[in-house]
């Protein structure tokens, strides 16, 4: 749009853009400060963390490698276990819930059957159910089945993703045309083949969005694994760092070394997600609008 404006007008609009950009710059600083703090302080030893005067700048000795080594060797390398658990839960929960949501969204969007509208309203209503209110009841249910303190206790409840179904239905309704499906059926393709070869490729942007969002939600989940797991070998990294933090603050004096592990541990744990978001930008930026435009 700007390209079509004459030069003078463009210069005026450049000048007009100064104040908004200043505001943006201030906001960018605000949003970056905690991350900056984390990156800087990951280089410090426990003594530097407590003793330094400038917490927003490097101390004399910069020791990322030493801190990383401490992080990965502390308590028999439990941190690496936590990272692995987080990845397992996020991948299993994310893939599973996305597959289920894609199938259901397609079913709701492209098939007419009795009870469809009723069940879809039920689903929309369930988006309103506070999911954390389900955690304690699910815990008790799982405890009766002896499933608590297993990986299933985290993965299985993560399969529930009503909002994902809603997004997939809206998207499939727009992106997959009935004529195309009918044509495939006339050509003799079965329902499954029609779904996999015709519908699914058209739904790909929404699939990636739902997958990314559900993996992030599982990776970030805290309440569910906190309630379900007591064996710290099964913790995801969020619960593990939470544990370290409460240990470190419980013995204020003796916990020094743990504080520096928490800082660098937090930094390491966000790297996978930041990379995922930056590299998949074009998918989620488009995909996030699906729900809001309707």
């Amino acid at each position: 749009m700007t390209a079509s404006l004459p030069v003078v007008q463009r210069r005026v609009s450049k000048r007009r853009q100064f104040a908004p950009q200043l505001l943006l710059a201030l906001l960018a600083i605000y949003f970056l400060v905690p991350l900056w703090w984390m990156v800087i302080n990951s280089s410090k030893s426990a003594a530097g963390l407590f003793g330094g005067t400038g917490s927003l700048w490097f101390a004399k000795d910069i020791d990322y490698l030493g801190n990383l080594q401490d992080l990965f060797t502390y308590d028999g390398g439990i941190y690496l276990h936590w990272l692995g658990n987080s990845a397992l839960y996020a991948i299993a929960g994310g893939l599973g819930s996305t597959a289920i949501a894609v199938l259901a969204g397609y079913g709701f969007a492209k098939f007419a059957f009795r009870g469809r509208n009723l069940s879809f309203s039920l689903l929309l209503g369930s988006v309103m159910v506070p999911l954390t209110a389900l955690v304690i009841p699910t815990f008790i249910l799982f405890a009766n089945l002896h499933l608590t303190d297993t990986i299933w206790a985290v993965i299985l409840p993560s399969l529930l993703n009503p909002f994902g179904v809603y997004l997939m239905r809206v998207y499939a309704g727009d992106a997959v045309s009935d004529e195309l499906l009918d044509a495939a059926r006339v050509d003799g393709a079965g329902e499954l083949r029609t779904f996999f070869q015709v519908a699914l490729p058209l739904m790909r942007p929404a699939v990636v969005t739902v997958l990314l969002l559900s993996m992030v939600a599982t990776w970030n989940n805290f309440f569910l694994p906190l309630a379900m797991l007591s064996d710290n070998g099964l913790f995801p990294v969020t619960v593990g760092l939470g544990l370290w933090q409460s240990l470190a603050s419980a013995n204020n004096g003796g916990g020094h070394s743990l504080w520096s592990l928490i800082v660098i541990g937090s930094l390491v744990s966000i790297i996978p997600l930041v990379i995922a978001f930056l590299s998949l930008q074009k998918y989620w930026q488009g995909g996030l609008s699906i729900g809001s435009l309707k």
Binding site: Q17, F113, S119, I136, L241, V274
Partner: protein, 318 residues
Amino acid sequence: MTTASVAASSRPRRTPNRPLSAGRRAAQRRRAFTGWMFIAPFGVVFLLFLVAPLAYAFYLSLFTKGLATGTEFAWFSNYIAAFTDPSFLRGVGFVVSFSLVLIPIQMLVSLVVALILDAVTTRFARFTRLVIFLPYAIPAVIGAIMWGFLYSPTFGPVGQVFSLFGAHAPFLLDADHVFGALVNVVTWQWAGYYMIIIYAALQGIDPAIYEAARIDGASSWQVALRIKVPLVTNALLLILVFALIGTLQFFTEPAVLRPVSNGGITPDFTPNLYAFTTAFSYAQFNYASAISFALGIVVFICVYIFLFATRKRGSFLS
């Protein structure tokens, strides 16, 4: 708000009163069966991990467990206890007032940023968009831990800035400041996500509308307030509902910051935290179920009040 439009747009085009041959009816039945098959996996998950826990929680909440009496059926006495329990009521009061302060701030920040980003198209603006969104990719636990550090009088910059002037920094997580401190953490964490949703909706508007408005002499302020904002109302409502549901269930940040708050955050600070403590520190699962269920009821009521209020106002506007 969304149900009606979705249901209407995807209703089958075939007119139902046309007489159907036996073959067509069989085909239709087959299609219906296939539809159900596609939905079945979700249906199973829905029943197992939503309906069953809810039903079971409701069942459990009808019993009380005493040391002397054992477990016995007690009708709704747990609910009466919950809705007269000062801990629960204080928690509900907190999350409701927290929502009333937090959500307008969050909405305002994300809307203003989205409007600026929609109008300013420099490379710096694109960079800012990513930076502001970044906290969404960071687990709430990590966000809370980081802010806990920043607030800390021993390692945080707040304490150091104050000590430069020889003053004592206020401890931002004590009972007097914890409200604002938490508003800040949550705004930092979520504003970017909401901003992206609004921004995506703004990008979906046909730019021809702006051209028309400019020819009519509208300033960019007028375009923003009179055209852009009304056109993204749906996105704003969606965000509001999500923010409301999320905030009423507030748990992670207070749970993480509690150990470092020196008593500023109590175990009954929010209803969810209270339910968690009741279940896992005191093993009172019946009462904890009742609190969870009661919180669910509170969320439902708040969301419906909100949807009802906005639907009324929505019809006024249009």
